[in-house]
Point group: C2
Chain length 411, copies 2
DNA sequence: TTGAAAGCGCTAACAG
DNA sequence: CTGTTAGCGCTTTCAA
């Protein structure tokens, strides 16, 4: 029988370029060449190489190839979560687009923790990825430094699910506070304002925003801030409530109770993330009350007293609520149906995310449709472009407020 | 100014072990050692190394490390889809468990295509992963060969979301038909049978199974086959229908119509996958009719004529339907509510997957709760065990038929 | 059209 | 406790 040809420190039984070369009666460089530039190899040789390739079941070792060439095709992506349909679809968009371009996706989840983000980032950067995709614009100082140096070393860094106005970014850059990475997403402040505007337009003056309660989800908080700011500047009353943890549908059901009970039931701080503007702390507890803003009501409908009962706090009862996501909103809507609370008559309900079932409910839930999948596709495209030397364009992606029965205008 | 220290073919600006060593006044092996076995380095030296590490912002190059040591910590996973909550949660389970163990997750989606699976597998194997996770037990011949040789080379291969009885597997092995990989999941045939049994127990004799219409999702078809087999052997009538493509909620709504119209409306072949048992083709179109099986009704309730009208085909109208997933079932349930069709009075509805909203509907949807997240965790644990030399245990994971109002027994 | 030599950044083995 | 040497499997020169 053939003696085991096991050399010192030789890999784990997988055949190498040299094995193929031996079988084909050439040197390894010829096989390597055949694999990358078949045109440069004589047809006669090619035939033998092809046969040897099949015979040995050769699978190229990418670490070796990458080490030698310095060219990576791995893209590292960091998402808060893979199970949430929001990020799952983004992952799918990334995966589809990257696969089509021959890249591979190394993925990690952070559970919304900046600490875990930094840790994972450190691990992923060790693969010298062709590009890095992170979620959001806020990172730990360490992560920020890692990203900056990666970017400097030529690895494009892309921030998804967030977007700042160019002017904002220029200001920050001037202040030297951070490195400008490519952003692909949308402004959560803007969405929050649009959500408020939508409810104002429907004639509501007593609004509430229900936050998800995930402390580190600063984007949800920003929507809440935008919502409250717009409402106040229109002279409306706003409460910000925080949903309890646990099943979000049940949390939504519970929130319906609190909303009906009146604004004074609102609770919970605003969970400003670590990057919140200094000096903007308003203390814990409910932030509510009429705004000191300028406008009194922008689009037509003048303020009008609510026909509903006064809430517990002595202030008027909330007549319209916006939620951090469709799960919460749906829970509230289902609970309202069970209790025969008129939607939108007694309370208008507005979600965020526009999940597939939202339009199926009765009444159908108004929501904000998000470019979930497209964010992944656009991020992949931007990073592919960056690799080709094209400076990747910032992209504010389109979202859309989808008005359905749950926020139909009051008559 | 300092001369650019750019050496020939030197990497891309990132600092290497040698840079750190120089800064610390030692050789690279000492730094390497410090990183892996700090105890072996003198404290004095360690101090200088630590400083140099920080100063240079060193990030270890994993390809080089892996190439030199032959030890990989990458796990490659192939899933049909990342956006579907079923696989998204599995991905999360994998990610969480793997991250905790210091492994990294290289992920790819196949869109249920065996061809894409093989292609992706080939690409991922190039990273010499520590283990490979694939979905299901059916693969293209090429993929099968790749997996077998990977397994032989010492890379554990784990098949998730499916499970066969040890006896079945032994038979297959004896027939030499395939390599035995570790399976972590459950038997879809068994689930299908349980779904039928549940409806039979509730007194139904005219059943239907609604398939998802994804041709390559053989697991859904197997559930359908198990469902039909159990129903027939109990002497009940069964139709197998196939949902149209597009939004699954809307498809479910449409299917309600067809179910109410009677069994003759059923259509679509059974989409047996490429691995279906030879000789089992029953031709296209609806497979229906009373079974030639043995039992007449197992658990109590004797066959009882339906009180509802006769269907179009002259046979009795369907009184209970099981669906390939909760999306379809929910669509049907919502449509029934809209049309004031009594659920479960006129038609009992049973889903699969037990998604979060299913229990929120009215009536609440009966469904099969799946170990979505746990499959990921168990797969990760099995592969971790395999790496430690423990032969990974096959695991049939628990599912549970959750009976709710939508299939409450007829009175 | 093919090959030889050198090196990517790191680690295993063996000295010292 | 630290260093030297060789080599992981591949690709990049450069030469024939």
């Amino acid at each position: 029988m053939p003696a085991p040809t096991r050399q010192l420190r030789r890999g784990h039984g997988r055949s190498t370029l040299r094995d193929v070369a031996e079988a084909a009666g050439v040197t390894s460089i010829t096989v390597s060449r055949f694999l990358r530039e078949p045109a440069l190899v004589a047809e006669e040789t090619a035939v033998r190489v092809r046969a040897a390739l099949v015979q040995t079941g050769y699978v190229p070792n990418k670490q070796a190839g990458l080490l030698a060439s310095g060219v990576s095709n791995i893209v590292a992506a960091l998402l808060p979560n893979l199970a949430n349909s929001i990020f799952a679809e983004t992952a799918q968009g990334l995966s589809d687009t990257l696969q089509a371009a021959g890249h591979e996706l190394l993925i990690a989840s952070t559970g919304y923790s900046l600490e875990r983000e930094e840790e994972q980032l450190r691990a992923l950067l060790g693969w010298h990825p062709a590009a890095v995709v992170v979620t959001g614009r806020r990172h730990s100082p360490g992560a920020q430094a890692l990203l900056a140096s990666a970017q400097q070393a030529g690895t494009p860094v892309i921030e998804i699910w967030d977007w700042q106005l160019p002017s904002e970014r220029a200001a920050q850059r001037a202040a030297g506070s951070r490195n400008p990475f490519t952003q692909i997403g949308f402004s959560h402040d803007e969405v929050g304002r649009a959500m408020a505007q939508h409810l104002l337009d429907a004639g509501h003056r007593h609004l509430a925003y229900v936050d998800s309660g995930i402390a580190e989800d600063y984007r949800a908080h920003e929507r809440g801030l935008g919502f409250a700011a717009r409402a106040r500047s229109a002279g409306a009353e706003v409460s910000v409530l925080v949903a309890p943890p646990g099943d979000p549908f049940n949390a939504g059901r519970e929130m319906l109770q609190r909303l009906l009970a009146g604004p004074a039931q609102g609770s919970g701080g605003e969970h400003d993330g670590p990057g919140a503007r200094a000096g903007s702390r308003r203390g814990r507890g409910e932030s509510s009350g009429s705004g000191t803003g300028t406008g009194t009501g922008s689009q037509g409908s003048a303020p009008r007293p609510s026909r509903t009962a006064k809430g517990a706090g002595g202030r008027s009862a909330v007549t319209a609520a916006a939620f951090a996501n469709d799960h919460l909103a749906s829970g509230a809507l289902l609970e309202a149906a069970r209790q025969r609370v008129a939607i939108p008559g007694r309370l208008a309900l507005l979600g965020f995310g526009d999940f597939a079932w939202s339009r199926q409910l009765d009444p159908a839930l108004s929501s904000v449709a998000l470019p979930r999948y497209d964010i992944g596709v656009a991020a992949a495209q931007a990073l592919l472009a960056a690799r080709r030397g094209t400076p990747p364009a910032e992209r504010a992606l389109q979202w859309q407020l989808v008005a359905r029965a749950s926020t139909a205008a009051r008559r």
